[in-house]
Amino acid sequence: MTAVWVTVAAVGLATMAIKAAGTLLVGDRTLPPRAQAALEHLAPALLAALVVSQALGGSGGGFAVDARLAGLAAAAVALVFRAPLLLVVTVAAATAALVRALA
């Protein structure tokens, strides 16, 4: 039980520090233009990496190809038809559930 609480405390404190580090270090200073330009490109870079890792990542690392990929493909089709976010996410989940039910 103690091991559990030590883990909970250590992970919690470390995560809170990581999340707060940016604002505590930068404060209300304006970043130099180069750093600002880099941060404006962080969203596409990280979002693309999150798509890849959430769609293809295995539970212990590496790749795992499963129904998530079918869900992502369905979401891509929905996006081509300019579906709203709610519909895109729902179509992805429904497709993955259907593929799993049939498999």
């Binding site: 039980m1 091991a3 559990v4 609480w5 883990t7 909970v8 250590a10 992970v11 919690g12 404190l13 470390a14 995560t15 990581i18 999340k19 707060a20 580090a21 940016g22 604002t23 505590l24 404060g27 180069r34 330009a37 880099a38 941060l39 404006e40 490109h41 962080l42 969203a43 596409p44 870079a45 990280l46 979002l47 693309a48 990496a49 999150l50 798509v51 890849v52 890792s53 959430q54 293809l56 990542g57 539970s59 690392g61 129904a67 869900g71 992502l72 979401a75 996006l79 976010l85 895109v88 996410v89 729902t90 992805a92 989940a93 497709t95 993955a96 559930a97 593929v99 799993r100 039910a101």
Partner: protein, 225 residues
Amino acid sequence: MRHPTRPSGGPGYLDGVRAAAPIGVAAFAFGVSFGVLARSAGMGRLAPVVMSLTTFAGSAQFAAASILAAGGGVAAAVAAAVLLNLRYGPMGLSAASTLEGPWWRRALTAQLVVDESWAIAQRDDGRIDRHLLVGAGLLLAVGWVGGTAVGVLAGDLVADPASLGLDAAFPALFLALLVGQIKGRSRLLAAVGGALIALALMPVAGPGVPIIAASLACLVGARCS
């Protein structure tokens, strides 16, 4: 994404809540499954809920609980979780300029940064909208912590989120928000770079490393802008 505008112009907290609602359902379901996993890992009832409240980051919590369950030890569990959460360093940095108030309030607001709230709060100009971040973050926190509580107390009553396809909701959300982010060559380049770095590192590096390394692709995009 379009948001209904307030009299003052930008989106409000409620717009963030609304934008996060579809993924909030998935966050709740995975909160339940974290609660179930954590209980079966011998974490008891209170510790998983405290962890969801303080760490508030799904993948790191699943990793820590699985390692504890497998007898991997505290150091391995903490190291894996911290590695998975390192990506909140650059994310928090990108949100820094939009947070307001004294240092403790900014540090507290920064706790609402998770992948989904950060992604939803992206503005077209590459900056973060504080109202969207707070609204989306609060809804996700309620779903995640509430789900964990339900999971530790009544986990057997709830269906496996994977059988409902809810694990496919997350990549779909990030893809939809990514499409809105790709404006111009330099952002496209950053996206392709991020995806390639993640793909290249996933088979060889531990969980968490591919995503934190992919953030370096923002430097490539910035050079070409």
